[in-house]
Structure formats: C-alpha cells, structure tokens
Amino acid sequence: MSSMKSLGRHEARTAYVFITPTMLLFTVFTVIPVVMALYLSFTDYDVLNRMNWVGFANYERLIHDDLLWRTFRNVLYYAVLFIPLNIAISLAIALLLNRAGLGVKLFRTAAYLPTLTSAVAAATVWLWLLHPEYGLVNALLGYLGITGPAWLAQTNTAMPSIVMVTLWQSVGANMVIYLAGLQGVPEYMYEAARLEGANRFQSFRYITWPQLKPTTFLVSTMSIIGALQLFDQAFVLTQGGPANATKTPVYLIYQQGFNQLQMGYASAQAFVLALSILIFSILNMRISKSDETFV
C-alpha cells in the first residue's frame, strides 16, 4: 500500500516536472498578458511616459470612435460576402470530388494548393493579378467583353477583392472539412431516397444539406472568427484603403498601438474585439463538441 502511494507521488512529481516548461511559458505569455490586457485598457500607457490610471475613459472614447465601428462594419461586410461564397464553393468542390476515380487526387491537390501560401505572398500575387491595366483578372474579363474595374483602388471593389483572395486561399481547406463531413453521411439514406424515386437534387436538398448542417455551421463560425481577425491581406493589398474601406479592427489596433503608441486605448479596442470573437469561439466549441462524428 505504501509503495503504491509512493509510486503515485513519484508519478505526480514527474508530471509536474514535465508540464513545467509549458505552464511557465503559458503563464508568462498568456495568463499575464490577458490579465494585463484588461489592466492596460484602463490606463494611458504609451511606452514612453509613465502610465496613469484613467478609469473608463478609453471605453467612453471608443463608443464615439467612428473609425472603430467603421472597421467592424467593414469586416461585417466582408463576412456577408465571404461566408455564403465560401460555403457554396467549398461544398461544390467537395461534392464534385467526393468520389474515387482517375485524377481525383490531383484535382483535390489543385484545390488545396492555395491554402499553403502565406497571406502576404498570396496578397502580393493578387496585387498583380488585379492590376487594372495589365492584370490577369481584367484580361480574362476582357475576353468576355467586360471592362474590369480598378479593383483595389475603388471603394466599391476593394473589399470584394480581398474576399476573392481569401476565398482562393481558404476553399481548399474547407473542401477537406466538407469531404470529411460527406464521408459521415450514411449511404443507406441515399439508397432509401433512391427507392423513393428522389432525384439528385432532391437527395442533396433533403439528405446531404441537412446532414452537413454541423459542418456548415462550423465552417461559418470559423469564417466569422477569421473575418474579425483579418489583417495580413488588407495590410498588403490596400493598406486599409481606399478611404478606410478595407480597414479592419486588427489593423486599427495595430496602428493605434504600435504606430501611434496609444497602447492603453488600443488595449480597450482589442478587448472589445476579443469579446466579439469569443462569442463565436464558444459557439464553435459547442458545435464541434456536440458533433461526435468529427472526432
């Protein structure tokens, strides 16, 4: 009995030694910063001068900060464009490639390849593709007799351009998720539908689509979380312009905090953004937990 006890103690001691590096790093770079994020948001910290406690002044200021709410509206617009297109395209590709056959692997790879690119490299390439005069996109539109816009320079097309780039980069990964979802739809359902005389569209409408609901929900919440954290593409493609049309919350926080050094105020902005992201993260967590077929 006593040896069992000592083995238990020995095991526990080992465990604490093993997790020490992780917990130490976690404390220094996650726990302390999260607590501090809240604290800083009540100060006027600016790196250079002594910081003062300013109470709710930063939060009062951000309520009337039109630019901040503008950035939220921008990402909302982005999400409204991105989410349905993302679902439609990645599901369409998954449905197309959900089969065995010659070349299917190659096609899947082609769809997946863009997800490997960094946001900066992808944005750099699209900077050129979207060139109003010599860009490939407008050249292709030209073949169809359409005069393409100055994509990144016009307020009405700048955000759709960013959507185009992020779609190109993300439908491959979402296709993989949808393919996994499609594997989980039981075959007998399709057989039953076929016996009932359902056509392809009907079996999609009444079986595939409802069965994929958790997947679609997951893909959507992930898109919203991604949208709220959009930065790299906007930074490279448009620098937030024209006229702040593509400025995102993270972009604003970066500028406020690290260019203008108003870190106290930027912390308050970050906190508001974090809360809105957290809502969707919790939703996301709920759904992936309830859906056992994934794990």
């Binding site: 590096p21 790093l25 089969r99 750099t124 190109w168 399709y190």
Partner: protein, 297 residues
C-alpha cells in the same frame, strides 16, 4: 461513382464522366492560375510583363527578376531568418508539446484535469488580446536585453528572435494535439518499463515518443507552416532590418517597389516554395492537420 449511376446506360455514364472532368479541370485550372501567372511573370522579360494584350508565355526565359529581387533586398537573409524561426517553433512545440501532452494523457496528478481545462480554454483567446500586453511583457522581462531586476531600463526581448520563439514555444494546440494521440497508446508499456527500472523521462523519450511519429509529423508540418507564414507578430517584435522575416521582406518589397512586378512575383514564389516542397513530400500529413484543426477551430 454514386449509387445513382447503377443501372444507367453506358452513354449517360460517359456523359456524366465527361461533365465531371470538364468541371474538375476547370476548377483546377482556376485554382492553379495564380501560381502559373506569377511564375510566368517572374521569368518574363520586363516588356512582356507589361504588354497588351497579355502574353501567356514568355518569348524567352530570364532569371533577372530573381537576381534583382535578391540584390535589392536581402531575401537570402530573410529566408534564413524565417527558416530559423519556423524550425525553432517546430522543435520547441514538438518537445514541450509532447512532454506535457504525455503528462496530461498518461500520468496521474491532482491538477491534471483543471490545468488541462485552462490550457484548452486559452485556445479560444484570440491573439489580438495579447498583442499589446505580450509586447509589454517581452519589453519588461527582468534581466534580459539590458533590463534591471524589475524589468526596466532596456528592451527586454524586443528585437530578439527569442521574442518570436518563446511566446509560441509551447502552444496549447500542440499540447492538446499530442495528448489526444498519447491517449490512444496503452499504459501497460509504462508499467512494464517501470518494473524494469527505467526512469520516467526515459520511458517517455524511448518508449512512447517513437510511437507518436505520425502525430509529430503532422504537428511539425502544421507548426512549420504557421511559423513560416507568420507576419504580424514578427513585424511587431523584430524592428532590426537584419532580423526581418521573408514575409516582412516581401511585404516591404511590394510596398516600396510597387511597379516591379517581376521581382515581386519572384519573391512571392520564393516565399511559398518551402511549404510547397514540404507538401510535395509529406502530403498526407497536411490534410490530416487540416481535418484536425477544422475540428478545433
């Protein structure tokens, strides 16, 4: 083929196959086009980059844009910096992640569940919250970078590679991922080794870790890709131009040389190449990682 196709005539089956290949090829061409176009631009002579109507293929291949890109900015150095940071990210995450993942999966200790729950919950905290305070923490780490014991006076780990490596050295995701894998391994290996008198670290290192090779490969690739593609945090921490990463260099290049599309495309391709090569050789681990991260969000 779907169940629908059973019993349909050979003719309609052929039509269906044709439609499938047309759609699949069209999709693939469309997804691949940006790669193709940037590659063509990077090896075209300048006057053919700016030609109307557009030229699909270069009249002759030139590598001057690559030389140009590497001469204008130290892309070689940036490449190496990124490689170093990404590799360090992989090594630290694989080691610390599997070490603590093993502890959470296989060892009994009182705080096992609560600590793991905290780590898991922290995965939901968006990076933007800790952006500013992490900078603050790095700057004021005691006794580093000219700081005194109270963390004042110097720059801490700002402008140091450690400022990028350490905050991500043991990501909660790595711990979670490795724990899930260790859970699938039997515990009696451990008991047998203990009876034979093996030390705890030895049991972990020699017996369990080698069994997790596929998980390590997936996690390693995942971490490398994240480290290689990282942009915002390195940009905040690394001010010294000699420490810039390839993503930062590429961004600065496309900002400062806005019409040099040839070198720009050359730079973008160089920035993407390592991940593409990795993918080519280790394809199956990539999609496993995606399916898993999809679950975790």
């Amino acid at each position: 083929m779907r169940a629908h196709d059973i019993g349909s005539s050979p003719f309609s089956r052929n039509v269906r196959a044709a439609v499938f290949y047309i759609l699949a090829i069209a999709m693939s061409v469309f997804m691949f086009l940006p790669f193709f176009w940037s590659l063509m631009t990077s090896i075209k002579p300048d006057e053919e980059i700016f030609s109307l109507p557009i030229r699909w293929l270069p009249s002759h291949i030139t590598f001057e844009h690559y030389q140009n890109a590497f001469r204008t900015v130290p892309f070689g150095l940036y490449f190496w910096n990124s490689f170093f940071l990404a590799t360090m990210g992989v090594l630290t995450n694989l080691f610390f992640g599997s070490l603590s993942g093993y502890a959470f999966a296989k060892l009994r200790f009182r705080l096992n569940k609560p600590l793991f729950a905290i780590l898991l919950a922290a995965m939901m905290i968006p990076g933007v919250v800790t952006l500013i305070p992490s900078f603050f923490v790095l700057k004021h780490l005691p006794l580093l970078g000219g700081n005194d014991i109270l963390g004042r006076g110097g720059f801490g780990l700002i402008n140091s590679f450690w400022g990028v490596i350490l905050p991500g050295a043991s990501g909660s995701f790595a711990v979670f991922f490795m724990r899930q894998f260790f859970l699938t391994l039997p515990s009696d290996l451990m008991e047998m080794a203990r009876i034979e008198g093996a030390g705890e670290f030895r049991i972990f290192w020699r017996i369990y870790l080698p069994l997790t090779k596929p998980a390590l490969a997936t996690l390693g690739i995942f971490t490398f890709q994240a480290g290689w593609n990282a942009f915002l945090w390195p940009m905040i921490v690394l001010n010294d131009p000699a420490k810039h990463t390839i993503q930062m260099g590429l961004q600065a290049f496309s900002y400062n040389y806005q019409t040099d599309y040839g070198p720009m495309m050359a730079g973008a391709l160089v920035a993407v190449l390592p991940i593409l090569i990795l993918f080519l050789f280790l394809q199956r681990y990539f999609t496993q990682g995606i399916a898993f991260s999809g679950i975790k969000g």
